[in-house]
Amino acid sequence: MLSDLTFGQYYETDSFVHRLDPRIKILILIAYVVFIFVARNFYAFLALAVFLVIAVIFSKIPFSNMIKSMKGILFIIVITVILNVFFYKGETQTVLFWIITKEALIFSAYMALRLIILVMGSVLLTFTTTPVALTDGIESLLSPLKVIKFPVHELALVMSIALRFIPILMGEADRIIMSQKARGADFDSGNVISRAKAMIPVLIPLLVSAFRRAEELGDAMDSRCYSSSAVRTKYKKLKLSARDLVATLVSIIIFVSVIFLNGLGGV
């Protein structure tokens, strides 16, 4: 069922990583992604992978869950690898079928590795951070933009509402699909065009429902004194702690070591 998608859903438990300030987690992830593409050799990758493993251990999230969350993007990884294997232009001789070069194989392997640790890193963030904390973190990180009148709070609110309503609308889509199926609708035969057409009886009620919900939500927000110009406070203020300092230091050590390890030679 659509509403049961697990990719990146918050995993409720109490751990070192869960308790980190969301801003720190977001910044570390951004840096991590950058360094995934900076890393040029096996040792550098190893350092980044070890960092990920340590983070997962400290997050108390079972490795099996981390691996399961990869299922959804396995397809993308496979496609990337295949494309790279065939189309990467290497200089040395071919090793297979006259077209696949040694460089291509190595390059593809790195590409796959990059994608896997990139996705796992991001999933770890969403597993250990509630959507609310995530949007709070983004809001806080973007708050300097308020100076140039960028609607930071509104953006964060829109994000958190979207996150909240995605599962509800997916459940609703499930229900509408079922009721149209009961009226004989067929969603999985015919060509692309007729399949797209078949979705109209689902999309229109879904849209109508989304508007109805939006209206009621708007009324509910107004009733609770929402106003974009108000001087608002925050219930949960983000506060940095010693924990965050430790995490930052460890990350810096890893990232610096990646730079050093890169010096050992490239791909």
Partner: protein
């Protein structure tokens, strides 16, 4: 069509670690001609069960027969054949979900109601389609000429629901399954819709009706047999009178209809009433009883 469920089991997300067993072996027979009620607390498996009845959920374990249709897919049966069977089944078993007006989508009431016929009988002529649509709209008590070119979204709440039900009746189902059909309607709207269902049933336009309801008065008033769902099983299948006369935990949590409650209290002071718990019969019975004692 008789519906026979034996040991029906179902688990959501069977493979995931957060799976949830919704049905734990449902044994239940609904006879042709029944006006059947399904009751039970939220999460007791009622909805999952009725979604099986026209193949919206595939049978995982146990067996389910709806008339001649075997809904548990057999190995011999190919995918194509199973799909073909589903189509036949779905036009014979109409399914009205909770708040069915939320499925309306077309530009006009006519187009919306016609959706089902066009899907089930793609070869019908335009005249034949119009005839059937007109009949269905008429059946639910809407004025065909007035509403056919209206947008379904312009109708009032009660009318929308009727239009949505017409969209199911148009394929002339033998069995009609309704999940909380009167939820959200005002008292008069409720009465009208229930009497519409009785008319469909009494005239034989729909042979069997199955309703899911939380309202015990509605159940005792309307159905001839009832199944009580609890923890993914049909723990009791009996008449409403039997259900509401037994005192045990699973039925007492449901609450009692007014008539059953009063009967129970009268019973405690030694007055035995023999009628079923339908209001009119209950009144007659009480009047008779009173005249005997005076």
């Amino acid at each position: 069509m008789q519906i026979i469920s034996k040991g029906l089991t179902f688990t959501y997300n069977r493979e995931a670690d957060f799976h949830r067993q919704a049905l734990q072996g449902v044994d239940l027979t609904i006879n042709e001609g029944d006006f059947f009620g399904i009751v039970g607390e939220t999460g007791s498996g009622k909805s999952t069960f009725i979604q099986h009845l026209n193949g919206l959920i595939k049978v995982q374990g146990g067996s389910l027969w709806v008339g001649d249709f075997n809904l548990a897919p057999t190995d011999k049966q190919g995918k194509k054949q199973y799909k073909k069977m589903l189509k036949q089944l779905r036009h014979k078993v109409g399914m009205v979900f909770q708040y069915p007006e939320y499925q309306l989508f077309a530009e006009t009431v006519f187009e919306d109601v016609a959706f089902g016929v066009k899907n089930f009988f793609p070869t019908l002529s335009d005249e034949e389609i119009e005839k059937r649509v007109a009949k269905a709209i008429d059946l639910v008590g809407l004025d065909y000429n007035k509403v056919k070119n209206k947008s379904p979204f312009e109708l009032s709440g009660g009318q929308k629901r009727r239009a949505a039900i017409a969209g199911i009746l148009v394929s002339e189902p033998e069995v009609l399954v309704l999940d909380e059909p009167v939820a959200g309607l005002d008292p008069v709207g409720k009465k009208r819709l229930m009497s519409l269902l009785h008319t469909l049933h009494d005239t034989g336009i729909v042979k069997t009706i199955v309703i899911v309801s939380h309202d015990m008065d509605e159940i005792s008033e309307n159905v001839n047999r009832v199944a009580l769902f609890c923890g993914g099983r049909a723990v009791k299948v009996c008449t409403p009178k039997e259900l509401f006369s037994q005192k045990d935990e699973s039925s007492s949590r449901l609450g009692l209809p007014v008539t059953a409650y009063v009967s129970e209290k009268l019973n405690e002071v030694g007055v035995e009433l023999s009628s079923d718990f339908k209001t009119e019969n209950f009144i007659k019975d009480l009047v008779k009883k009173y005249k005997e004692t005076v």
